[in-house]
């Protein structure tokens, strides 16, 4: 079995495949060996930055990428990755500058427009984000990156219960893709359909059981979908509007019953008070019990 490899390209490929499979520890072993003989190889350093980002060390990843870009200012992969990291970290001003400089250099690359749209979305410039993503889609109708950005815009902007055409298209094209599923879960949560959101979140947790984000989401949705939370369904489904309606309904009911001199007025007051206390006290208690 021959594992001696002559070129950094072979190593890069192996390391990249290991990272695709989230085997960062094994990738780092190969990487450190390769970097001993080729310490300035841009592709190897890029893989190192990938490994750091996977281990949630964006700072080290960005530092490595800056190193690559300092030596090779035109390196597309390093710049694109840096743009993604800057966006994720919320450093939106440098992210915008980088996106614009890349678009100036590569005006025919639709994904760069979509990436810029992502920056704008993060900066809460919704109209511009959507326009950029749609521009990317116009340039390349098959661009799933552009579709994702548009789907994100839809989740944020569309009224409750409105379908997102972009999300539907993503689901049709990539039904098992985890990113698509996570968008669907977000959309379901926004629309108040927590039962379906829980099903989707469970699917995501099954595919990556050690992901703390999905674990906490499933735990939170499990609490909300517990049978003892059923009386709180209107509040979960309709949000603050339901709170206002319930408050107003309670006031009217107590007032009307009071005017009729009905003993039910007192009962109604106690029921309403009990419901309010239950809505505040029970969910955290249930969460502690379910997550013990």
């Amino acid at each position: 079995m021959d594992t001696e490899l002559s070129s950094p390209d072979d190593r890069v490929r192996q390391i990249s495949e290991l990272l695709d499979r989230r085997r960062t520890a094994q990738a780092r072993v190969l990487l450190s060996e390769a970097l001993t003989t080729h310490p300035d190889d841009a592709e190897l350093l890029l893989q190192g930055a990938r490994a750091d980002a996977m281990d949630d060390d964006n700072a080290s990843a960005r530092e490595t990428l800056q190193r690559v870009i300092a030596r090779q200012p035109e390196h597309f992969g390093a710049r694109a990755f840096l743009l993604a990291l800057l966006t994720e970290d919320g450093d939106l001003v440098p992210a915008e500058q980088l996106a614009l400089s890349m678009i100036e250099q590569y005006p025919q690359t639709p994904d760069l427009y979509a990436a810029y749209g992502r920056v704008m979305l993060r900066a809460l410039h919704f109209a511009k984000a959507r326009a950029l993503a749609q521009e990317a889609l116009r340039m390349d109708p098959e661009s799933d990156f552009a579709l994702r950005v548009i789907a994100l815009c839809d989740v944020i902007e569309l009224p409750r219960g409105t379908d997102s055409a972009a999300l539907r298209r993503l689901l049709a094209q990539y039904p098992e893709d985890r990113q698509t599923l996570s968008l669907v879960v977000s959309a379901l949560i926004q629309s108040g359909d927590h039962r379906s959101a829980l099903r989707g979140a469970r699917e995501l947790l099954r595919s990556q059981p050690n992901d703390p984000h999905w674990l906490s989401l499933v735990q939170a949705l499990s609490v909300q979908n517990h049978w003892s939370m059923l009386p709180l369904w209107p509040l979960q489904r309709f949000g603050w509007g339901a709170s206002v309606a319930l408050w107003l309904g309670g006031v009217v009911a107590v007032r009307v019953l009071g005017q009729m001199n009905s003993p039910a007025a007192a009962w109604a007051s106690w029921v309403i008070l009990g419901y309010v206390i239950y809505s505040w006290v029970w969910p955290p208690l249930l969460k502690r019990w379910l997550l013990r």
Partner: protein, 158 residues
């Protein structure tokens, strides 16, 4: 592939760090400020969030409308004969706390305006997991401010 048609899309929007939007206070903070603090608190919350989101220019008008509308209502209710008559009718229908009930309804309507104006920003903050500012201090401060402003104006008018 063709070149983009709209060159405005490629003008920088974030050239100054001060223009970056920060996460707004949560809807829960907004709701309870309005519920307990009244329309003035709700207007102040709208301004606070607008300032954080960089939407002050757009939303200040709405905050002003809310504050002026509520002040106008108080002036009408406490200083005009028609207002006194309306108060009497409301007391008849609803009972002794009719003005407080009306104030709360208006505050919740103001919260509705708040929620509608910042719906997308609130959703984005949830979606991107942005760190929200602590609502307790601001909420309590707004409730105290709203209550004091309402009581102060009412006392000045009566």
């Amino acid at each position: 592939m063709t070149t983009p048609l709209n060159p405005d899309l490629l003008r920088p929007s974030l050239s100054d760090t001060g223009q970056l939007a920060a996460a707004p206070y949560t809807s829960q903070t907004g709701f309870f400020s309005a519920f307990f603090g009244g329309p003035f608190a709700s207007a102040a919350m709208l301004l606070l969030n607008a300032q954080r989101l960089g939407r002050l220019q757009r939303d200040a008008v709405w905050a002003l409308v809310i504050a002026v509308a509520f002040a106008a209502w108080l002036v009408f209710a406490y200083t005009t004969p028609a207002g006194h008559e309306l108060q009497a009718r409301m007391t008849e229908w609803v009972g002794g706390r009719s003005m407080a009930l009306a104030e709360r309804l208006m505050a919740l309507a103001a919260f509705g305006v708040n929620a509608a104006l910042h719906r997308r920003e609130q959703r984005s903050a949830d979606l991107f997991g942005l760190k929200r500012p602590n609502g307790w201090i601001a909420g309590i401060a707004l409730i105290v401010f709203g209550f004091a402003a309402t009581v102060g104006l009412t006392m000045a008018l009566t």
